[in-house]
């Protein structure tokens, strides 16, 4: 545990770690004429946990959609970090990405060459109500045409990782909000994507559930070792989770400033109540206020 944590910290703090994705002067104007993003420059490095922090409507979700390839930038470009870092796969997960994932994604993805597979967690759980928990988690593997036996094995493992193995045959409406979100996370991780995009995933949950999912998410991240881009409007959540916080200005969204959170992982409840955590939150809060003032 501790080795993994220190290794993470070491990796994140080295600016020399190659980026997994870079946004160069990205602007996005919607058909309605709204300029959501302007001159957004951003480099996300392998293995980082980065939060995009900003007020509602600052375009942070738009940035995430652009990275996911769900929309095209109006100006600027998004480049993917050349050859992907060989990251240590989950010990029990066979890697199919080399065979299926990369090839398919490279062809289909709109985000350009070398775009790796991404996992996406929406603000709502976004589960298919007509399918069981298990079928929901299977979906990405089935869409990618992964052989059924292997897919079953991986979906089962993904459910085990979020602690919902015994709910595989339940339907989404039988689950609580927190459990639905766990299923959503399991689905995003089931393809073992190098990059996980999360769009305010816990915003609709109560605080107790949110704290618990924060902890579970950090544990998963340290275990699996993927890169996470986490969109949030909560200062406290961003400090607790990430090792880098990108503070964004109000519309049109740009990077206002960047804050490093150098507290070591694993982080737990003792970190949440520490003076260090409070200090980071204060700094982030002040940065956010200045960011919001700068726009008006």
């Amino acid at each position: 545990m501790t080795e993994i944590a220190s290794e993470h910290t070491a990796v994140h703090q080295t600016a020399a770690t190659p980026p997994i994705v870079t946004l160069h002067g990205v602007a996005k104007r919607f058909a309605s004429g709204t300029l959501a993003l302007d001159q957004l420059d951003l480099a996300i490095r392998h293995g980082e946990f980065v939060s995009l922090l900003g007020p509602s409507g600052c375009g942070k979700s738009t940035a995430l959609r652009l990275i996911a390839g769900l929309a095209e930038p109006t100006r600027g470009s998004i480049s993917w970090g050349g050859t992907p870092l060989p990251r240590s796969p989950h010990p029990t997960l066979p890697r199919t990405r080399g065979r299926v994932g990369w090839g398919l994604r490279g062809r289909v993805g709109r985000g350009g060459r070398n775009k790796p597979e991404v996992g996406f967690v929406f603000q709502e759980p976004t589960l298919m109500p007509w399918a069981t928990v298990f079928r929901n988690v299977m979906l990405p593997l089935e869409l990618e045409g992964i052989e059924h036996r292997l897919a079953t094995k991986r979906a089962t493992e993904a459910l085990e990782r979020v602690g919902l193995a015994s709910f595989r045959d339940s339907y989404p409406r039988e689950l609580s909000g927190g459990m639905k979100m766990r299923v959503s996370i399991a689905r995003a991780l089931v393809t073992d994507p190098p990059l996980l995009l999360m769009d305010e995933p816990f915003a609709a949950l109560d605080e107790i559930t949110r704290f618990k999912l924060n902890n579970d998410l950090l544990e998963l991240w340290r275990e699996v070792g993927h890169t996470v881009i986490f969109v949030t409007h909560s200062v406290f959540e961003s400090v607790y989770l990430s090792n880098r916080i990108i503070v964004m200005t109000q519309r049109p969204g740009r990077v206002f400033t960047e804050l490093g959170v150098d507290a070591p992982y694993p982080r737990d409840e003792s970190f949440r109540t520490s003076a260090e955590y409070a200090r980071h939150c204060r700094i982030a809060s002040q940065a956010l206020s200045r960011a919001m003032a700068s726009a008006s």
Partner: protein, 273 residues
Amino acid sequence: MMSDADHPRLREGVTIGWSRIVLPLVTLALGVVAWDLLVRVKDIPPFILPGPGLVAATVVSDWPVLLDSLLVTLATTFYGLALALAGGVGLAILFNQSRLIEHSLYPYAVILQVTPVVAVAPLLLIYLPQQAAVLACAWIAAFFPILANTTLGLNSVDRNLKDLFEIYGASRIKVLLRLKLPAALPYMLGGLKIAGGLSLVGAVVAEIAAGSAGAGSGLAYRIAESAYRLNIARMFAALILLSLTGIAIFFALSVISHLLLRRWHESALAGEP
């Protein structure tokens, strides 16, 4: 980790209040008694208003004739509904896949719906063999609710789920089969429930139109024929059978809908329709 493992609402929808079954039956019994009293007290002759006892006796005595007619009407209704389901869903999928086709054809689907089928039936009987014309009327009456509802359902897919399918590079056909059609299923079944009754209406209308041309043998034709003969009791008997047929169709479709949706859709939680 399992602290939030509650199962909300699993227990709901199990109990159907007895009042929903007993009260309508009590109302029915009161109605029949009132009808019987009215006929007896006022001494109304059977060729104007037969009593419930005579109508029941007619159902029994005329059963062979009525059963044949019932089967004919049932078959027409069923085939009309099946064709309407195929046509409505097929057309809805086509509309969903191509704006061009939707814009070209949708207005005519509406026109087909808003033109009263009773006015179209005589014309169809001239151009088509009688059985085909009756079937066509049942189809015309039934297909639009299925088309309209399925179209609505196909267009009501969760946007995030659509994005999710795009992220994983799903093909159009997979989006249709795995996402749009399941999402549209509750809407489609809602349309089917309406269409079941309408298909019967279409069949009856065409039978009556055809009956005047002298050849039908469905229940509606029995009604028309009995009217000419002033056999009011048989008219009532056939009418009751038609009504029971409509109820049975609605009930059967409700059960199908419930079975398909009970595990996941909110509508199936509130108990039987």
